[in-house]
Structure formats: C-alpha cells, structure tokens
Amino acid sequence: MQLEPDDQLSDMILIQRCITGDDESFTILYQRYRLPLFAYLHKLLPNQHDRVDDFFQQVWIKALKNFSGYSDQQRFLAWLCRIAHNLVMDYYRSTDSREMSEIQENVPADSLDPQEVLLQQGLEEALQQAIRKLSPEQQEIVRMRISGISFKDIAAQKNISLNTALGRMHYAVQNLRQLLADFL
C-alpha cells in the first residue's frame, strides 16, 4: 500500500490531525491557505497593512481554537474567510465605520475557487525556489520589493542609483520568467 504524501492530504484529515496536536499538519494547512486568506484580508482592509497582519494572526488563532467545530460541508478557505469577515465586521462596527457596508457588498467571503488556490500554492512554492537560484544581489532586491519597499528606498538603503536598482530587478524578473516557464 502506498501512503499519500502529507501535503496531498485533504483539509479535513489535516484538521483532524491538528485536533490531536499534530502541528506538522497545521503547517501544511497554513502553507495551503496563507496567501488567499492574506489577499482576502487586504481586500477587506485596503491600505491597512499593519491591521491586516493583526487580523491575519487573529483569524488563524480563532481557527485553531475552533477546529473541532469545522465540518467539511463548507470549504476550508470559505470557513477561514468567514472568520476573517466576521472579525473585520466586528472591528468596523466598533469603530462606527462607513466602509462596512461597502465591504459587505463588494467582497464575498468565498471569492477563490479551490483550483485557483492550488495553482497559487504551486506557483508560490516554485517562485520561492526560483528566487533562491538568483544571484545574491538579485535575490536581495526581489525580496525587498516583495516586502513592499519602493525602488527609491531600495536605492537609498543599498547606496545605489535608482537606475541600478531598476536594472537589477529587471534582470531578476527576466531570470525568474525562465525559471518559472512551466507556470507562466
């Protein structure tokens, strides 16, 4: 009998393993859904990066504490997004914000289909591997851009000209394109 690799296990099996205290299973679930959940929170809380980080953490903690209440009648991502939605709505209610009604209308709690999530996850893993294959200078600039630092700030921090920073990034993206040819 061939055992299924852990990262191909269903969400429900991983959740059941989490309930028994298996944190490896949680890591797989987390890697599977961190990006779509993070993107969803960015839609709920536009231009509020620090708050997104805070809610992102809260959602996972709440999910962890309520795993026993999850049933596979609902997709796990939809369940996570529902938790996120409720937490953010509570926050908007407490601050009497007008943005709440706009968000309720415009951002459905279940906006990504599972196929898209899997593709995104595969691409993300391949992207991280590809970045590690770049030269140290290119890796550094890509990581700085990924963390949201502007070219102007990168140039200032690395003591290089703006054109040098742009040129390095340009070559980095070209190299990544070749490394990720199967995904793009």
Binding site: D23, R34, A39, F56, Q57, F151, L166, R177
Partner: protein, 145 residues
Amino acid sequence: MTCNDFALECLQAEGHLSETAREHLQSCPDCQAFTRLNSILLQPRPSPELDRRILQIAGLLLHHQPRRRWWQEINHYFYAAAAVLLVLLSVYALSLPPAGGKSPDLLAQSGETGSATHDLLILSYLETTNEMDNIEQQLYLYAGN
C-alpha cells in the same frame, strides 16, 4: 516603445501604465508574461516574521489542547469495576450467618460451628495464623543468628 522601456515603466508603475505602454502590452506576449510575473511578485504576502509567529502560536495552542490522560481514559472502567466489586462484597456479606460477636479462634475452640462454608473460613483463618506464627519464629531465629 521597446520591451526594455516597457519593463522599466512596468516596474515603477503603481498599477497605472501610460497609453503607449498599454498599447505595447496588448501586442507583446513577452511583456504580458513580464507583467504577470511582476504582479505575482508584488501580491501581498505575510512577512516571514508573521509566518514564524503564527506557526509558533499554533504549536503552543495545539500542544496545549486539553487531552485525556491515560488514567482519564480508563477511569470509567475503574469506577465500573469498583461498583461491581462493592455489590459482590455486599451480597457475600449478607449471605454470611451472624458470628455472634466471637472471634474465629474462640469459635474454633468452643466447637461452635455453623455452615460448611463458615467452617472452611475458620479453618483457613487458623491455618493462616499458624503460618504467620511459623514465619515470625523463623525471622526470630534468623535475627538470633
């Protein structure tokens, strides 16, 4: 516009491309792939620090889930066995005839005996007492040597 010009504009654009760049993009598959990859790179993702923190919290929460210990797992069997034993002892105690307050020694000496079960009980008691006396005597002898 060349692909190089487009790439430089695309890298700096915050989602807004010039008319010329948009026209180039529509007709150039290479620049479409470049744009796609650039937007993937720039999509919001949790920082490594945030990832680490959440996985750390998860580890703590998952390891502190209230789990049933082995004695909690077996305690209901233990209580059931204790209850059965108690009932059996009660039935046995009720089935014994009253001893009249005399010790088994006295009963044996006086020849007052009851049922066959009762006689066996007294006999076993006396045998045990004799064995204990023998053991005590042996220990005394060992100590003496």
